[in-house]
Structures are given as C-alpha cells and as structure tokens.
Amino acid sequence: MIRDITIGQYYPGKSVLHSLDPRVKLIVTFWLIVVIFLCKSFFSLGLIALTAVAAAALSRVPAKMILKSLKPIVIILIFTAILNIFYTQGGETYFSWWKIEITEKGVNTAIFTMIRIVSLVVISSLLTYTTTPTMLTDALERILSPLKVFKIKVHTLAMMMTLALRFIPTLIEEIDRIMNAQKARGADLETGGLVERAKALVPIFIPLMVSAFRRAYELAFAMTCRCYTGGEGRTRMKQMKIALRDIIAIIFCAAITAGVIVLNHFFDAVI
C-alpha cells in the first residue's frame, strides 16, 4: 500500500545513538566526514573504519539494512577502484601487459579509496537511520540559528523543509489517484517511446500542480488560523538538552581526530 511509505529511512530503536541529541549527531557526523578526508595512511583510515563499524554495532540497526544502504554505491566503488588501479602508477609492478600496468601504488590507492567511500556512506547513513527527518530539520534550524545575524530566515527554511516532508506522502497518494483517473479515461502510460511517455505525463503533472497550489493555499489559511506569524515569539514543545552521553560523543570524536593526526604522522601516506 502506498499509504504505508515512511519518509526517510529511520529505523526506530532505543540505542545510545538514537538517544543522542540530534544537533550533536549532526555535528559529529560532519566532523567525522571531514576526518575521513584527513586520513593519509592505512592505519588512520583503519581507525575511522573501526569507529564506523563500532557505531553501527552500537546503533543496533541490523547489518542487513546497513549493507542495503551500500548497494547504490557499488558501481561507484568498482568504477573508482578500476580508475585508481590503472591510472596511479608507482612502486613494484605486479602485472604488465601491452600498455596496462598494475602497480603496488595503484592497488593500494584503489583499496584505500574504497574503504574511504564505504566508511563515509556507513557513517552518514547511521545518522539517517537513527534520527527522524523531523528531528533533523529541527536540529538544523537550531544549529543554523546564529545565521539570523546575516538576515537569513533560518526558521522559514526549516518550516519549508518540514512542510515538504509532511506533504510527500500526500502528493504521492495524489499522483496515484490522478494516474488511475487518467487511465480510466484511456490514457496510455506504459507503452511507447521516450517522447511519447514523457508526453503522457503532462496530463498527470498539470492536475498535480493545480492541486498542490490549492493545498498550499488552504494550508496557509489553516496556519494563519492557528496564529502562525513566523518564527518570532514561538516556543517549542520539545526542548533539546545536551546530556552526558552527548559530551562523551564529542570527546570521543576529538580523540579519534587526534588519533588520525598522530597515525598520519607516524606511518607512510598512501595518497
């Protein structure tokens, strides 16, 4: 059933990762992503990869789901690996035929890049697995709120994101309904070439746009009725509080950063 769709890929749970403050989670995730790109040796990258695995275990999200998030990047992984093997030259030659040479440095770089991408995806998908989209937009609003100084309407942006998320399932249902209505009138949506199919979508998107505008209009009315006047003077029911575990998470992150820098210094750089 189309009604049953869940926005994002939140995996409900009660693990430590789930209960961390979303602001801290957001910052820590970006921090770790930066640290991934600071890694130069296999040892420092290994430390990050280990952190990613440990965090995944801590989140209690099934390994199957985490592997599923890696599926879309398999092609990218293979592609970058091949490019690195053939284009990075240096060190001992393992294999040579015609113009192709596979060298030690090429293989190392390929493996290094692959581990780097996988850690990146695992860490960032852990954020979306353990945080609801609403919590994420909320956290983003609060983190970016200092930008108010530059007259950037952070609250309005966050409200737009929340409303967009809220209306995704509604509009999907609407598309389904319009498609059925057009099919009932004899519209052919499944056959024909690319151009014909694109043309067949016009009678679906026009009603969708019209209804989306009508919905927006009514929603604006409803929001006015509920005394919405923008971000000024608004309070929030759900407060975000930094707990001890959040501080530990930040300290842990700092320790990993330090570890990466030290390991970079003592071991040979791969890249």
């Binding site: 926005i7 809220r166 919905r215 009514e218 309070t235 029911m237 407060q239």
Partner: protein
C-alpha cells in the same frame, strides 16, 4: 441573555474578481446579522454556494467584511494584531484534514498552535496530552498523520484547536470528506467539546442529521439568513426547508408524510410516534 461571543452586524461580503480591467463583485453574504452566545452549539445549514463557508471564515478574521462589522468578544479585527487576538479566541477546523496538518508526527502537529502562542514548553506538553486524550487520540500521539484514517486526522485537527484553549471552535464542513464511521467519530467529539468542556461550537454543515444535534440551527440561502431557531422549530417547516434546496432527516420526513407530527428529530422519537399511532408498544 447569556454573554455574546461572536456578533455579526449587517455584514455584507463580496468576492472581487478582475474581469477586463473592471472589478466585478460577487456577493456571498448580504446584510447578515447574527449573534452567537457563549457555550452555544450552533449549526449553520445551507446548500453549496449559499455563503455558509464565507460566514465561517468571517468568524475568525480570515476574511474581512466588505460592509458591516464582525465583533468577537468586543474586538473588531481591523488590524493584523487584533485579527491575531481574535484567532486566540476563535479556532477553526477545515474540511480537508490533509491540508491543515502541519507536522509529520501527531503530537507535534497538536503542539503547533500553542507553540505559536509562545507558551512554556512544559505547559505545551500538558495541553497536547490533554487535548489528545479529549479526542481519544492519545495512543496515536507518535504516529504519522498520513497513516491515520480521515476521521482520526480530523480529530487530530480538532485537538490542535483544543490545545490552543480557544473559547470557540468554528468547524467548516468537518465531515464532508469522511466516511460514515469517521463522521460519527467527529460528531461525538464535537458534542463532547460543547457539553463537557463548555466550548462554543459553530458547525457549518450540509448534513441534516448533524444539524439536528445542535442547540440552534441557522439556515443560510443566497447569502442571507433565512431561518434561525431551535432544531425542532426549523425542522417542523419541511416545505420551507425544501424551497432552500435542503432536505430533512429521514425520520422527520416520514412523520411529515404520514401526517403524524411535525418536527420529529431522530429515529427513536419517530418510532415512539408511530407506536403511539398504532396504539400499542412496538
């Protein structure tokens, strides 16, 4: 007389559209005067295009009268600030539940109104929980609105107004898009708000069986108030109602056609009357 909460004084409202550079006015309401008292349950009846929705929107300053004056507890909403004040007194529920739910989680949506009013977080929590309990949706507080039925969504929308603690709720055809079960759920909730919580209710509807449950029925036709009285008085006048393009509840009609009694309001009463006619118990 009890305390007035909403007062219409000779209100005229016309929608304006631009046609060939000359503004054309479509009158939706003409010279309407109406008083809604505190604690009342008033049903506004009318067929499509009678102006009943316009009447509802004038109650909380969504629309401004072209002529005349709408007063809510002594406030005339002629500025944005005063309109906001009026909206703290009169809440509104619309027809389509999908287009009035703002958040992706039920309890966050109910909290939206109180958050806009700038209420303390702990206080909002309490209001939200109480509001959800009063519409029997407390168990659903962590659910996503799009996974609820129409009747449940509409009850969430009502809870959103209750949490704002308005003195009056205007419902603009809240059951028009619902199935019979959803309609029943919403009507039960509305009646409870009025009877148990003492909230003034203005219910705009075109369902006769809903209007019957009100304390007072106002019939609108062609932008004017044509009837205003107790349900029993209104529904005694079957022919007049018909002339406004309105039907009467089935039990009322049966008793009218049989010539037993005018102004019968529900099935039980109808059964009693027929039993009496038959001269025995049924």
């Amino acid at each position: 007389m009890s305390e007035k909460i909403i007062e219409f004084e000779n209100v005229t409202f016309a929608y304006e559209t631009e046609e060939e550079d000359a503004p054309v006015q479509f009158p939706a309401l003409t010279d309407v005067s109406l008083t809604i008292n505190k604690g009342e349950f008033v049903a506004v009846l009318g067929h499509n295009g009678s102006g009943k929705s316009t009447l509802a929107k004038l109650c909380n300053a969504i629309l401004e009268p072209t002529k005349g004056k709408v007063t809510v507890k002594g406030i005339v909403p002629d500025t944005e600030e005063k309109a906001d004040e009026v909206r703290r007194i009169v809440g509104m529920v619309f027809q389509n539940p999908d287009n009035q739910i703002v958040a992706t989680i039920v309890e966050d949506d109910v909290a939206f109104g109180p958050e806009n009013l700038g209420i303390e977080p702990a206080q909002i929590r309490k209001r939200v929980d109480d509001a959800l309990k009063s519409v029997n949706m407390y168990e659903f507080r962590h659910r996503e609105p799009h996974k609820l039925s129409g009747g449940q969504k509409q009850r969430v929308a009502i809870a959103g107004v209750i949490a704002m603690q308005t003195e009056c709720i205007v419902l603009d055809e809240p059951t028009a898009m619902l199935d019979p079960k959803g309609r029943e759920e919403v009507m039960q909730t509305v009646k409870r708000l009025n009877k148990e919580m003492g909230i003034t209710v203005v219910l705009v509807t075109h369902f006769m069986d809903e209007a019957v449950q009100a304390d007072r029925v106002v019939v609108v036709d062609g932008g004017r108030i044509v009837m205003n009285g107790k349900p029993r008085e209104i529904f005694s006048n079957v022919e007049k109602l018909r002339s406004f393009g309105l039907d009467v509840p089935q039990s009322t009609e049966l008793c009218h056609v049989l010539g037993i009694k005018e102004g019968v309001l529900d099935v039980d009463e109808c059964v009693d009357e027929i039993a009496r006619l038959a001269g025995g118990a049924l």
